[in-house]
Structure formats: structure tokens, C-alpha cells
């Protein structure tokens, strides 16, 4: 790897990236990358949702809190949504989320939204590799753990009304 390792970071550290991919475009594209045997960095772990419109900004926050160093969201290109406009809803929530993340001091490249069509297996490869490289330069996210893994106080059981209200307004 040609990128510089930040001071204090173990040289063999690998970021963990959670990817939320929509079923119809980006998940299919990542299957296509597989069928086409396009190798890429194994740092992403994909969670399949039916539509990028399903992605609650809290999923992203939860992923970061649980120890992800970055979150990648993949949806259909504008105008291509299988459900007509779920990706637009995703985009609006993403814009709001980015403001919130910036205020929380989370670096911009850590959370990324990409439109990847079902035929763009190569884009999955390119985006993943690029994102891994950028996050490697940033180093681990090192969020202070609020509670131990397995504790679900912050998760969906009792959503905090404040965040959800913001999510709904956009």
C-alpha cells in the first residue's frame, strides 16, 4: 500500500466498513462484481435492504457506534429507483446526516453515498477500494463506547424521539 500510515496506528490495521446496499441496484452490482471475479478490498460487509429509502440515519450512527470505521450506502441512480423515488428520500436524509456527522466531528469520507446501477460491478470495486484507502489514511474512528456490545439501549427498541423527528422532517 502506498498510503501513509498515520502516527500511532498499527501497520496491519484494517478498517471495517458497513455497507447498506439496496436490493435492486447496488446489491445486484456487487453480485455482478463477484460473478465477474473483480477482486477488491474485503473491508466492507454488506447489509441488504430492499431500498436505500429504508436506511434510517440511525442505522449509520449505530454502525459507527458499534465499531465501524466507515459506512457506505449504495442505491440506484436518480430516476432508476425500483420503488420510484426511495433513493431521493435517502439522499435527503443523507444530506441531513452529513450535517449531523460534521457537528459530531466525524470526518467526511467515513460516511459515503454512491449510486451504483445493477450493471456497475466495476463501480463497487472502485468505490470500495477508494473508500478503504481514504479511511486507512484517517485511521480508526475510536468512538468512546457508550455501553458494551450487546447492550441495545441505543438501538431500535426505544428510539430516541429527537433523532427520529429530524429524520422524518426531511
Amino acid at each position: 500500500m502506498s498510503e501513509q500510515v498515520p502516527v500511532g496506528q498499527p501497520p496491519d490495521w484494517e478498517p471495517r466498513i458497513v455497507a447498506f446496499f439496496c436490493n435492486w441496484c447496488t446489491y445486484t452490482a456487487s453480485d455482478l462484481a463477484g460473478v465477474s471475479r473483480m477482486t477488491y478490498a474485503p473491508n466492507t460487509r454488506v447489509i441488504r435492504v430492499m431500498c436505500s429509502g429504508r436506511i434510517d440515519p440511525q442505522f449509520v450512527l449505530m454502525a459507527l457506534r458499534q465499531g465501524a470505521d466507515g459506512v457506505l450506502i449504495g442505491g440506484c441512480h436518480p430516476g432508476d429507483c425500483h420503488y420510484q423515488e426511495g433513493n431521493y428520500k435517502c439522499l435527503r436524509r443523507f444530506a441531513m446526516l452529513k450535517h449531523y456527522l460534521a457537528a459530531m466531528g466525524i470526518d467526511d469520507p467515513r460516511v459515503r453515498l454512491e449510486w451504483i446501477a445493477a450493471s456497475e460491478g466495476d463501480k463497487v470495486q472502485r468505490v470500495t477500494n477508494d473508500m478503504v484507502q481514504r479511511i486507512k489514511q484517517l485511521g480508526p474512528l475510536k468512538l468512546e463506547p457508550v455501553c458494551q456490545p450487546g447492550c441495545r439501549a441505543m438501538a431500535g427498541d426505544q428510539p430516541s424521539v429527537g433523532n427520529r423527528a429530524v429524520a422524518a422532517d426531511i
Binding site: E14, D31, G34, V35, P42, V49, R54, G86, R164
Partner: protein, 663 residues
């Protein structure tokens, strides 16, 4: 790891997929890892989980070990989720108490390092195990389906599919945007490799379409809007004004003779511009429907508003109506077959071949018309000046197998070039030089046809033509078109003077393929061809249930393959109709009336109007039949009152935890 006492008993099955997974992922280590995950009662690995013994393994464990949840780590859920759900059901488990971990397409096939591939596989399996522990048993809802089919495109694919479905007793709406059906095939004289006459095999099918009681032919019409879902589509079709009442016109042609233009003046689309037509015309003698059409761009009355309207007078049946307006028709359909075909490459994009600059450089489609007995020259191969050519060059791969134009092989060009070589030789006796890169003749009787052409004395030269020029360097080249190419078999550059050049143009997607695909909510490959659900196992299905594709709109193909696809698409549409119902994936949204505040935020989120507010109770209600399961409303609900089955917040948070907590 905390584990609730009610944690269900989970079985994990890791598939080797032969060597596909096992080569990159240490399946034994992964299985041992899985066995230690909370709730896991059984963990096994097996060579092919999708095989019968693999599926029986699951069924047996459900029965003998009392499994309540199943995880299979193998290929993509888009490939085999249905298979394993059925296996679960056969074992007596609710099919939705199942989760797949995709360790083939998203791990083994894309990860170079074995150790890291194994780690990633572990993380994905942990995620699936955690998620499946929260899965709820669900039931699929059934909805009745209609029994009509809309077929878009009236080429050979659409025609064949329409006849197949109509013969099965179902109603078909065949929508064609041109004034006649027939598509590209109607323009050909002969078809390879048998050299049977295209019209002789096509036109009977065209008239069967017209006369079939179950087919409603909507020519000169385009699909405007598609609503609904598999089994219950609502399709709006716009009938373009042809300025002739189709039901009154008998195609006698009196109006054509009467037209104020004494002579045909405008290039005929059907004859590729080689012949002329009047503003009122019949595209070709066997046009179906056999009804004239008036071109709004050339008719004097329709362009300038001033004409003696002789055509109106001439028509004794009063069929001509120059005030006709576009008409919208709404039809219901259970299934849609998209068979919109292709377009040929425009060689003006390759100026070195001189198309448009030298009169005697033709495209293959123009020559198809020329050699057609009912074409502009009555089947004679002639030069622009009317003389017969003494030598003809045919250039393969124009707009194919070239990174500057299209990288793909258009599949039909070698064969139709051979056919044209034969026909040109037969009709004109000219010497034919065929310039090819590779001769591709895979098909029944195709290689034999090539052998026949070799014996007929066609000169085959292996080499891509660099340019065509009229600049003579020798006496023999004067007044000729000189074709330059490297003959790569003998390693010399050759200049061959000929009278006529035929460019074997490749196939490309229709220019409006993107708009069409959006209308039907289907995908395109990167090249712009419509994307099939699976390249091998679902070649005519799309990612949208109830919409099938057939023919060259899916990729270049010849007539036999097109007809085979049309038949396949027709039988799949019939299967849907005969089944009588569609099963709705139970991934719909549900509102918890206790938590809903009735704020109506979700109403605006739903593109299907599936949510309404029960005014009496003051809460939102989801109509399950309309909900498509995108989950957009779930993410928007400020009260967290909406959940999506199969994708609850709980399941996703649990999956997140699994994905990050162990590896």
C-alpha cells in the same frame, strides 16, 4: 455475549460450492466459528448445499434437532434464497425463519487473500445468525391475476410471443410504434443459413396476428405509462394519429394515387431511403395492418394547412381524417413482454469508410432492401448509376468489436455478410471480397453455410479495413473505390479496387432504450441492452416481476434465438396467468396503531398511495396489497410506529451487531 433464554435453536450450513467458496474460504474453520455463536445448535459444511442431499440435510436437522431458524452461507440470496426457503418449508419450518449469508459473490469471488476472505465470511455468518434470531414467521399473501398480456414491439419476437399466448386462449395487446408490424425481419429478402425467403415465413405470421380473435393489434402506438404490479398492470397506450381511420381503410391505395404530389418525393423509411414515397403511403405491400398512413412531417395540409386534400376526396369510404388527434387507451394486463428490438450502427461515425461521402458505399440493411424482390430495385444489385457492379467488397464488424464504437460482437453480421455475399454474387455475378476479423459462424448449419460460400468462390480476406478511398494509385484503381486492409494471413497490405462497398453494420440498443426501461422499471446492462434476471438461468425474466424481455432488445441475436426467447417469454407469462395468483413477498410495512401519532408523514413517502389515515382512529393504515415493501415510510416515521416485515429495525440492528461484534 448476552443471550436471551428464548433464543431460538439455529442451524448454520456453510456451502463449499464445489471449490468456488472452499478455495478461498476455510469452510471448516468458519463452521467451527459458527458452531460457537449464540443460539447455534447445529453447524455443518457441505459440498453443494443447493443439491438435493444438501437440502435434505437442512430438512433432517429441522426435524431431528428441532431447529427453529436456519442460516445458509453460500451464494447470493438473489440466486438461491427461494431454494432454501422451500427446503425449510419442506422440513416443516416457516420459510421466513431463514437467512442467507452471501459468501460466494461477495467474499470468495472478490477477495484475493484467503485469511481475510475467511474473516469476512465469519462476520457475514455472525450477522446472519444474529439477524435470524429475530426473524418472525410470516405468511405470503396471494393476489388474483388477470389474463391479458401486453407485448411491446411487433418484430418477429413480439409476433411470435403474441401468437403463442393468443393460441393459448389469452388476450394479447400487441403494441408497435411503426405503422406496420414486421420489424427488421420484414425488410430482409432471405434468411441465413437456409436462404428461405423472409417474407414467406414472416408474412403468414403477420396476417395471423391481424386475424387472430385474441390479438388486438395496436400499430402506430406507444406505451405511455405503466402502473401496477405483476398480475395487475394498468398500461396507458397512446395511439398516434395516422390520419386514417384504421377500421374504414381497406388499403386500396386510391388516396396514394390521388395525392397532390404527382410523384413520390420523400425517402421511404422502410426502404432505408433507397426508394421514395408520398406523404400518404403504405410502408410496403404486405404491411400489417394493411392501412395507409399520412406522414405529418411531409403532408401539405398537416404542415402548411393548405392542400386540395385530393386524398380525402379519393377515399370513397371516408377513411381519411386529417383532424385526427392522438388517443389514449388504458388496458389491464397480467404480464408484459418487452420486445423492442435493436437499431443498426450508423457508419457515419466511422468517416474512414466513406459512408455518405461515396455514393456506392452502402450499409448492409440498404443492401438487404436492394436484394429484396419487392425492394426499390426489384431485387437487382445496382450501383448509383444503375450499372451492375463487377466487384463488391463486404466489410465485417463495422461498429462491432471495436473499442472506439462498440466492444461487443453483434453475432449476426458474419452470417448475414455471408448471405449477402451469396445473394450479390447470384444477382450480379460480381466478384465478392469479404473482409473479416474472425469468421464467427456458431449455429446449426452455419459453418456449413460458410463452407458453401468458400466453394462458391467468394474471396475471404482476414483483416480489418483501414480505409476506403476513391484516390487511384494505379490505372486499375481509376473510377473505383479502393479498399485498404492488411491481409493478416499472408502479412501484406492489400489495396483492392471495387465498384461497391457493403458495410456490415453492427447491432446497438434502440436510442430510447433508457426511456423504455424506465417505463417498465427494468434495468439495462452497461451497453444499454435490457438486463435479464440471470444471464443463464433467467434469460428472459427481468428484476421486475411480471415483465419479460425477448429478442434483440436483450442483446444481439439472430432470428432463431429471438424466436426461442419469444417463446420462452410467452410461456413464462402464461405460467403466471395459469397459476392464477401472485404471491406477495411479505416484506410489507405495518403500522402499530398504539404508537402512531397520526402525523401523516408516511403518507407523502409512499409512491404507491398504500398508506391512508384512518380518520376515525386518527392513525395511519397500510394497504398490504398496494405496499411494495421498500421501507421508505419505516425510516421516516417519527414515532417509530411503522415496521417492515423481514426488515424490522430490530433485525437490522441485530445484523449490524453480528457483523461487527465478532470479527
Amino acid at each position: 455475549m448476552s443471550q436471551s433464554p428464548a433464543c431460538p435453536r439455529i442451524g448454520v450450513y456453510v456451502c463449499h460450492c464445489g471449490m468456488n467458496i472452499a478455495k478461498q474460504v476455510a469452510v471448516e474453520a468458519v463452521t467451527e466459528f459458527a458452531a460457537r455463536l449464540p443460539g447455534v445448535a447445529v453447524a455443518r459444511h457441505y459440498k453443494f448445499m443447493c443439491s438435493d442431499p444438501g437440502q435434505e440435510l437442512i430438512q433432517q436437522d429441522i426435524k431431528e434437532s428441532g431447529l427453529e431458524r436456519v442460516v445458509v452461507a453460500s451464494c447470493s440470496p438473489l440466486l438461491h434464497e427461494a431454494t432454501f426457503r422451500k427446503a425449510c418449508a419442506a422440513g416443516g419450518l416457516n420459510p421466513f425463519c431463514f437467512q442467507m449469508a452471501n459468501i460466494r459473490e461477495q467474499v470468495a469471488w472478490v477477495t484475493a487473500d484467503k485469511g481475510r476472505a475467511t474473516s469476512k465470511a465469519k462476520a457475514l455468518i455472525a450477522a446472519a445468525v444474529e439477524r435470524v434470531s429475530r426473524a418472525q414467521p410470516l405468511e405470503r399473501k396471494r393476489l388474483a391475476v388477470g389474463d391479458k398480456v401486453v407485448i411491446v414491439g411487433g418484430g418477429i419476437a413480439g409476433i411470435h410471443a403474441a401468437l403463442t399466448i393468443a393460441d393459448a386462449g389469452k388476450k394479447v395487446y400487441l403494441v408497435e410504434r411503426e405503422p406496420t408490424i414486421g420489424g427488421h425481419m420484414a425488410k430482409f429478402d432471405k434468411t441465413f443459413p437456409t436462404l428461405d425467403c423472409a417474407a414467406c415465413i414472416l408474412t403468414p405470421k403477420m396476417s395471423s396476428v391481424k386475424n387472430h380473435p385474441n390479438i388486438e393489434l395496436m400499430s402506430y402506438s406507444e406505451v405511455e405509462k405503466v402502473e401496477g404490479f405483476a398480475g395487475n398492470f394498468k398500461i396507458t397506450i397512446q395511439k398516434k394519429p395516422r390520419y386514417v381511420h384504421e377500421e374504414l381503410c381497406v388499403g386500396c391505395g386510391e388516396c396514394v394515387d390521388a395525392c397532390v404530389f404527382p410523384k413520390a418525393k420523400f425517402p421511404s423509411e422502410f426502404d432505408e431511403g433507397l426508394a421514395l414515397r408520398k406523404p400518404v403511403y403504405m410502408p410496403f405491400p404486405q404491411a400489417t395492418p394493411a392501412v395507409v398512413v399520412i406522414d405529418p412531417n411531409t403532408c401539405l395540409q398537416l404542415t402548411k394547412g393548405k392542400c386540395k386534400q385530393k386524398c380525402v376526396e379519393a377515399c370513397q369510404r371516408g377513411a381519411i381524417d386529417l383532424k385526427q388527434e392522438p388517443e389514449q387507451v388504458e388496458v389491464e394486463a397480467a404480464a408484459v413482454i418487452v420486445a423492442t428490438g435493436f437499431k443498426t450502427f450508423d457508419p457515419r461515425g466511422l468517416p474512414q469508410y466513406g459512408y455518405g461521402r461515396y455514393g456506392n458505399v452502402y450499409t448492409s440493411l440498404e443492401v438487404e432492401r436492394m436484394v429484396n424482390a419487392s425492394g426499390p430495385t426489384g431485387g437487382e444489385v445496382v450501383l448509383k448509376d444503375g450499372a451492375k457492379p463487377r466487384s463488391v467488397a463486404i466489410i465485417h464488424c463495422v461498429g462491432s468489436r471495436d473499442k472506439k464504437t462498440h466492444p461487443w460482437c453483434s453475432r449476426v453480421c458474419c452470417m448475414y455478410s455471408l448471405k449477402l455475399a451469396h445473394l450479390v454474387k447470384e444477382r450480379s455475378g460480381a466478384d465478392v471480397f469479404s473482409f473479416y476479423i474472425d469468421m464467427r459462424t456458431p449455429g446449426k448449419g452455419y459453418e456449413e453455410f460458410y463452407d458453401r460460400l468458400l466453394e462458391e468462390g467468394v474471396h475471404f480476406i482476414r483483416g480489418r479495413v483501414s480505409h476506403i478511398t476513391d484516390w487511384a494509385m494505379t490505372k486499375a484503381e481509376e473510377g473505383k473505390l479502393v479498399v485498404s486492409a492488411e491481409d493478416s494471413l499472408i502479412g501484406v497490405t492489400r489495396r483492392i479496387p471495387v465498384d461497391m462497398v457493403i458495410l456490415s453494420v453492427g447491432l446497438e440498443p434502440q436510442p430510447d432504450a433508457q426511456e423504455v426501461r424506465k417505463k417498465f422499471n427494468i434495468s439495462c446492462s452497461q451497453e444499454g441492452w435490457f438486463l435479464e434476471r440471470h444471464p443463464k438461468l433467467a434469460p428472459v425474466a427481468t428484476f421486475t416481476d411480471g415483465v419479460w424481455i425477448a429478442g434483440a432488445c436483450q442483446g444481439p441475436k439472430d432470428i432463431p434465438d429471438t424466436v426461442a426467447q419469444a417463446g420462452a417469454a410467452a410461456s413464462e407469462a402464461l405460467a403466471l396467468i395459469d397459476k392464477g395468483y401472485v404471491e406477495i413477498e411479505p416484506n410489507t410495512a405495518e403500522v402499530d396503531p398504539e404508537a402512531c401519532s397520526g402525523c401523516k408523514t408516511c403518507l407523502g413517502m409512499c409512491p404507491y398511495h398504500a398508506i391512508r389515515r384512518d380518520e376515525e382512529k386518527g392513525v395511519a393504515v397500510v394497504n398490504e396489497a398496494l405496499c411494495k415493501g421498500c421501507g421508505t415510510c419505516v425510516a421516516a416515521c417519527p414515532s417509530g410506529a411503522i415496521s417492515q416485515h423481514m426488515f424490522t429495525d430490530d433485525e437490522i440492528y441485530q445484523e449490524l451487531e453480528g457483523i461487527l461484534s465478532y470479527v
